[in-house]
């Protein structure tokens, strides 16, 4: 087997199509007779619907239909619970999922109340103004600490205190540990996230072909197979009657793996009802309130340490804002609970969270999926402890790392894949050392920083560490098939939103079968091409689907070689599979094109032995027993002007361990994108809600995405500790760039501003020029 492609920085197969406008996106679908949908969305965060009168809308020229909750009849039902709560003892979970159209009350701004179907989107939107809705405003819950009070208004009438869930996990005995501590640091930390804002908003096109008895749905989803299964069940169809296609997608980042959004569930139903294709493309304003966010947590955390800065235990009690519904279960706060532990040895841990319903759009995973909140708490507590104990911040981390000999390390806490959190492999000291060396930590702290400070320049450095559990199950599958033209087709059930699967999976197969990278054609996201799968999320594509591709390719390779030994009448050890051919070593002329051999393996007449399968095809599934622990460190040098609080990132270093690397170019791309979103989360982006649940900044004029001048060049370096949980040794990398950036900014900015640390600490995300100004108050540097 060659290793020509695996590990190589090959350019991506799919980029030419993407960059020349030849790729198919959902909005490119245009079908004869296609109608367009617009949604009437609630302007209130919490209100009873007294009356909906759509008669005027129905009479508008060009309007074909208007549906409200009443019109859906039996089809109206709350969506499925996507992720059941993990089996944790005494966990409380109140399942309340979103509905296709609000019936008796609306629970967040942007919740759909009616759908208008018209000949054009323009007419449909005009018709929205014709719909008369009588809303009776109700008291709103927005702030977390208030929402949990028993006398607060209830988002769900039967859920007191708006408690969506409560989960308590422990390891060891924290109270005993705290009693023995030399230092206990207790802080309240808040972490506000934001929303993904992919460049392509959501969209659904549905086409019911009555004569073929078949429904085709193009959907910007990260999980086409579960969507296919769910839609079939909802619409009373067989799974085989439904085809879901997730074509090229302009970014997912998690908000597109929230499934069975109201629009996703309604458009296919409307298409079947009207027997005409229907299209809905979300506009940016809708996206701000109609697509999921990832948002606030408030942590009351404490860390107990010895005099040498060794962690004795951590206790954390936190509130998590889940928005108006909780269809995604507890994934986000459980990730927080688990990832707070980081690369450190924490012998005693006591963590409780309460997930709270609020009158805001729902919270589901967004790149990092709750991990950044936990990492922020741990890294800040360590920074404060280091300061109090007089230990260098990198040294305190070193002293607490899980050492290389301790793997596999069992953290005991139950993780989002329902099993205890285990780290399979890692080398945290090496990662930290590489980061410090790359950024020149020692030199900076002892020479460059003092020199610059003497010149009145405010510059600081930050270094933070994290672990990210990736590649969780349950499974993915892949089919590899050599076609008679010699090209190899690969199909898998996950979708692609820019991760480069068309290339990385091709690299695996090209090496296994000895073909050119450009001769491997990968199909993802089409349920007619591959029937089974869970989806693209939790940094699992390469790990789980990649390994399935590898397994299938291995089987195909065996079939090819077996057929070739028969064809050439030689031993397998004499064969070479390379360049799209199979040849006998040392015998020129004894060579056959792969396609030819495949044709020979598929005769249309004649006799074969028992057990022979035609052609060269194999399907294989891979499912790991638990997630594999990727890890890394980020380091940053930042300069800030204390008068304007505008900052400039001078250097940004990422050292990452994602095990075996298939394509370093793609890995770097993932890290760059993650860091950009992390920078946005740390310093620029914030969803601002008022106390009445109104989103006050639903446009890019006021929701600040980082631009090209805000994202620096990123220096990426790898440490490799292969995963022990899959044959290829791969760990995920999709979310890593975004995870520790908040903690990094807080540490580096405290350093740059030289804040009087005993009075002013940065314990919240996002920071921003305004916020830094407020926090530093009347203090003048």
């Amino acid at each position: 087997m060659s290793t020509r492609y695996f590990g190589a920085r090959t350019k991506r197969n799919e980029d030419e199509r993407l960059l020349t406008g030849k790729a198919l996106f959902v909005d490119d679908i245009v079908l004869p007779g296609m109608l367009h949908a617009a949604f009437l969305r609630s302007p209130y965060a919490h209100a009873r619907i007294a009356k909906v009168d759509a008669s005027a809308a129905r009479q508008r020229n060009g309007v074909v239909a208007v549906f409200t909750a009443q019109d859906l009849g039996d089809y109206w039902k709350p969506g499925p619970l996507l992720v059941p709560p993990p089996p944790i003892r005494d966990a409380i979970f109140n399942e309340r999922t979103q509905v296709p159209l609000a019936k008796e009350k609306v629970r967040h701004v942007g919740e759909p109340v009616a759908i208008v179907i018209a000949e054009s989107r323009y007419i449909a939107e005009d018709a929205l103004a014709d719909i008369d809705v009588d809303f009776e405003q109700l008291g709103t819950v927005a702030a977390l600490r208030k929402a949990i009070q028993p006398e607060s208004p209830r988002v769900h009438d039967d859920v007191a205190g708006n408690i969506a869930a409560q989960v308590h996990q422990t390891k060891g005995d924290y109270s005993a540990a705290a009693r023995q501590a030399h230092l206990v640091v207790r802080r309240t930390l808040t972490y506000d996230h934001g929303c993904a804002q992919p460049i392509e908003t959501r969209g659904v096109v549905a086409h019911w072909e009555a004569r073929e008895d078949k429904l085709t749905v193009w959907d910007t989803t990260q999980a086409p197979v579960p969507i296919r299964n769910g839609l079939a069940a909802l619409l009373g169809l067989s799974e085989k009657q439904v085809r879901v296609i997730a074509p090229f997608i302009g970014g997912g980042f998690g908000c597109k793996v929230m499934m069975f959004y109201p629009e996703e569930v309604l458009i296919p139903w409307v298409a079947m009802n009207l027997e005409r294709p229907v299209k809905w493309i979300e506009d940016r304003a809708e996206h701000f309130t109609g697509t999921s966010h990832e948002r606030g947590q408030i942590h009351d955390a404490e860390i107990a340490l010895t005099k040498d800065g060794k962690i004795l235990g951590i206790k954390d009690v936190f509130l998590h804002d889940t928005g108006a519904y909780d269809p995604y279960g507890l994934t986000v706060p459980i990730n927080t609970q688990c990832h707070l532990l980081g690369p450190y040895l924490v012998p005693n841990y006591d963590s409780t969270f309460t997930a709270i319903f609020t009158n805001k759009p729902i919270v589901t995973p967004y790149r990092g999926a709750g991990r950044q909140h936990g990492v922020f708490v741990m890294e800040r507590l360590l920074d404060i402890a280091a300061r109090k104990l007089g230990i260098d911040r990198t040294e305190i981390r070193r002293r607490n790392f899980i050492s290389s000999e301790e793997f596999p390390y069992n953290n005991e806490i139950i993780s989002q894949d329902f099993v205890p959190l285990k780290y399979d492999s890692g080398d945290y000291s090496a990662i930290l050392a590489r980061a410090l060396e790359t950024i020149g930590y020692e030199r900076f702290v002892s020479h460059e920083q003092p020199t610059l400070r003497a010149q009145g320049i405010h510059v600081g450095i930050g270094v933070v560490c994290y672990v990210e559990v990736t590649g969780i199950g349950p499974y993915e599958g892949a089919r590899v098939h050599v076609q008679s033209n010699g090209k190899v087709s690969v199909a898998t059930g996950i979708g692609t939103q820019g991760q480069g699967h068309y290339t990385s999976f091709a690299q695996i197969v090209a090496d296994q079968l000895g073909v050119d990278l450009s001769d491997v054609e990968v199909t993802t996201g089409d349920t007619d091409q591959f029937y089974w799968g869970a989806g693209t999320f939790a940094s699992r594509g390469a790990v789980v689907a990649g390994n399935a591709v590898n397994q299938a390719a291995t089987i195909v390779r065996r079939k090819i070689l077996h057929a070739a030994t028969k064809h050439f009448e030689c031993a397998e050890s004499d064969l070479i599979a390379a360049g799209g051919r199979v040849s006998v070593a040392g015998v020129p002329g004894h060579s056959i094109k792969l396609g030819e051999l495949a044709k020979k393996a598929n005769p249309t007449r004649g006799a074969v032995e028992f057990g022979t399968e035609p052609g060269f095809e194999a399907t294989s599934y891979f499912g790991p027993p638990c997630g594999t622990a990727a890890s890394g460190a980020h380091a940053m040098i930042v300069a800030i002007d204390p008068k304007t609080m505008i900052l400039e990132i001078k250097r940004y270093v990422v050292v990452h361990d994602c095990g075996t690397v298939i394509n370093p170019l793609i890995v770097e791309g993932q890290i760059h994108g993650g860091v950009a979103q992390g920078i946005g989360n740390a310093f620029y982006e914030q969803l601002v809600f008022d106390d009445f649940g109104q989103l006050l900044n639903a446009s890019f004029a006021d929701y600040l995405l980082p631009t090209a001048i805000d994202v620096p060049r990123i220096e990426v370096s790898h440490v490799v500790t292969p995963s022990t949980l899959n044959p290829l040794g791969i760990k995920g990398v999709g979310e890593a760039g975004a995870i520790p950036v908040g903690a990094l900014f807080a540490q580096a900015l405290e350093d740059a501003l030289e804040l009087p640390r005993d009075e002013i600490e940065l314990l919240e995300i996002p920071l921003s020029p305004n916020r830094l100004w407020e926090l530093s108050g009347s203090w003048n540097p």
């Binding site: 009437l40 969305r41 609630s42 302007p43 209130y44 965060a45 701004v109 939107e125 929205l128 103004a129 719909i131 927005a142 702030a143 977390l144 705290a178 009693r179 501590a181 030399h182 230092l183 206990v184 640091v185 207790r186 802080r187 309240t188 930390l189 808040t190 506000d192 304003a285 701000f288 309130t289 606030g296 408030i298 404060i384 109090k388 914030q686 601002v688 809600f689 008022d690 106390d691 009445f692 109104q694 989103l695 006050l696 900044n697 639903a698 446009s699 004029a701 006021d702 600490e761 314990l763 919240e764 916020r771 407020e774």
Partner: protein, 212 residues
């Protein structure tokens, strides 16, 4: 040895976004005349562009529909006004709520005061308005600026109109107290409610169309 550290922090996770519109104008006309002038529906219709209808639902409630025409763009909104704490001819409070359909809504209250100042009247108002839906999403800082501009424009027209009415002019009928079925203070309430409602909605619609 154990040392405990604890800090309270200010959480930025939510905030109160009520918009405050306060202001005052010196109107060069005596208080009683200002009061009376505001009883004239014709005055108000001229000062509030696009006022389509005013309908008294009860002694204390009024429905109003205003179409705002700004350049090529037109938007219609419907509002409801409620009167309270009437103290003629000095002050009253009114609350309002109005809907602009898919564009959003606004509600709030206003306290209006008239006090004599020299030969004229100091008219002061304090309004708290909350907006929601698309109106809020565009950003209250933008709306504040335009709101102030619209208030200026209204009062300019109002002052000009009042100055014209208070001077006897040929062919113009003297200002007479008209028969009011709802009482003088209610008309004033209508006036100021319209002002505030108009300000909130007109300029919000402007913004929506401008920023589309």
């Amino acid at each position: 040895m154990e040392s405990l550290e604890s800090k309270a922090i200010v959480s930025p996770l939510s905030r109160d976004s009520a918009m405050e519109i306060t202001g005052q104008r010196l109107i060069p006309v005596a208080q009683a005349q200002v009061w009376d002038a505001l009883n004239e529906p014709d005055v108000l219709k001229v000062c509030i562009p696009g006022c389509e209808s005013m309908e008294a639902i009860s002694d204390t409630e009024l429905r109003v529909v205003v179409t705002a025409a700004i350049g090529p763009v037109k938007a219609k909104f419907a509002g409801k006004l409620l009167l309270a704490d009437v103290n003629p001819p000095n002050s009253y409070r009114l609350s309002f709520e109005g809907s602009g359909g898919p564009a959003g809504f606004g509600n709030g209250d206003a306290l209006v005061r008239l006090t004599p100042e020299g030969a004229g009247t100091r008219l002061s108002y304090q309004a708290n308005a909350r907006i929601g839906g698309k109106l809020a999403q565009i950003g209250s800082r933008l709306i504040d600026g335009v709101a102030k501009k619209m208030v200026d424009e209204f009062f300019q027209r109002f002052t000009v109109k009042l100055a014209g009415l208070s001077m006897p002019a040929a062919g113009k009928p003297p200002l007479a107290s008209t028969t009011k079925s709802t009482g003088p203070s209610l008309e004033i309430a209508f006036a100021f409610a319209l002002i505030v409602t108009a300000i909130v909605f007109i300029n919000d619609f402007v913004l929506i169309w401008l920023l589309r």
